[in-house]
Assembly symmetry: C2
Homo-oligomer: 149 residues x 2
Amino acid sequence: MKIKCCDSSLDENKAKDLLSNSGLNRTKMKVTILLELSSAKTPLSVADIYQELGDESCDKSTVFRTINQFKEKGLVREINLGEDFNRYEIINPDHEHSHHHHHVRCRECGDIKLIEKCDLSPFEKMISKLGYKKMEHYLEFTGICSKCA
Amino acid sequence: MKIKCCDSSLDENKAKDLLSNSGLNRTKMKVTILLELSSAKTPLSVADIYQELGDESCDKSTVFRTINQFKEKGLVREINLGEDFNRYEIINPDHEHSHHHHHVRCRECGDIKLIEKCDLSPFEKMISKLGYKKMEHYLEFTGICSKCA
DNA sequence: CTTTATGCAAACGATTTGCAATCCT
DNA sequence: AGGATTGCAAATCGTTTGCATAAAG
């Protein structure tokens, strides 16, 4: 059977495995935060994560520390959508599509949508000719969505 | 592919005209800051601007307020290169090339280079189909430059 | 038991704001 | 004169850090 390609949800056991495989401790907070990230439909800010923890709450600094560890281990990607804070998105190795994509954010209502397609290889080839290695790119769109237009 | 070191320099009179045409007062600080931006080879942070003011110095909050007015009037473009602060770049109507371009930033030494070529129309067409209007995009590259490799 | 994680409070850096004094038109 | 601008200090906001205690391996 097929797995929906945009659903990168984890269950608790998979989350714990991911943590162990990344060399992180399987603490309650790390599992909780990882699950929250995995079920999010759009990239989350630390504030988003923090305020949706409910009864599994913790200090905001713990969210920051946890997210930073996830980032170092490559479990999440940090992105900036022109807001004055960062957002984080899970990188789930089980799902090709979660590896690289972009976003469109409505400048009016703030709604965020994902864009899967991305081919910037011509750009990267050009830049490689200048001697750059380990290229990465960052591409985001904004516009006014149909509801707000 | 071209790396461009664009010369969008203004002189004092042109700067004053630009301000007037934008409906801003021609104060000493506005002229000074606009000139500094116009002669910069890379996008500047507020801290960059502030510390290079020399004898024309002012309070940092004035730099922020001025930059924000420039931004509202479309005289500068705000960009984020993955640092924890924003940078600003003059948009000089006299120079085609200053209207739209991108950057490569070395993740090791922080050096920034400009890239002129940009054709993301296929992306924007795709997104327009989703009903978005007034599309804008934001594209930046990072890598390890030849000196640091 | 030794290391890592967490809570709490304080520290920080970038950016914003209130207010009184000063500049621009 | 009257609104816009600036300096200064204080306030915000996102993020980081030091330290003492609790949890993980």
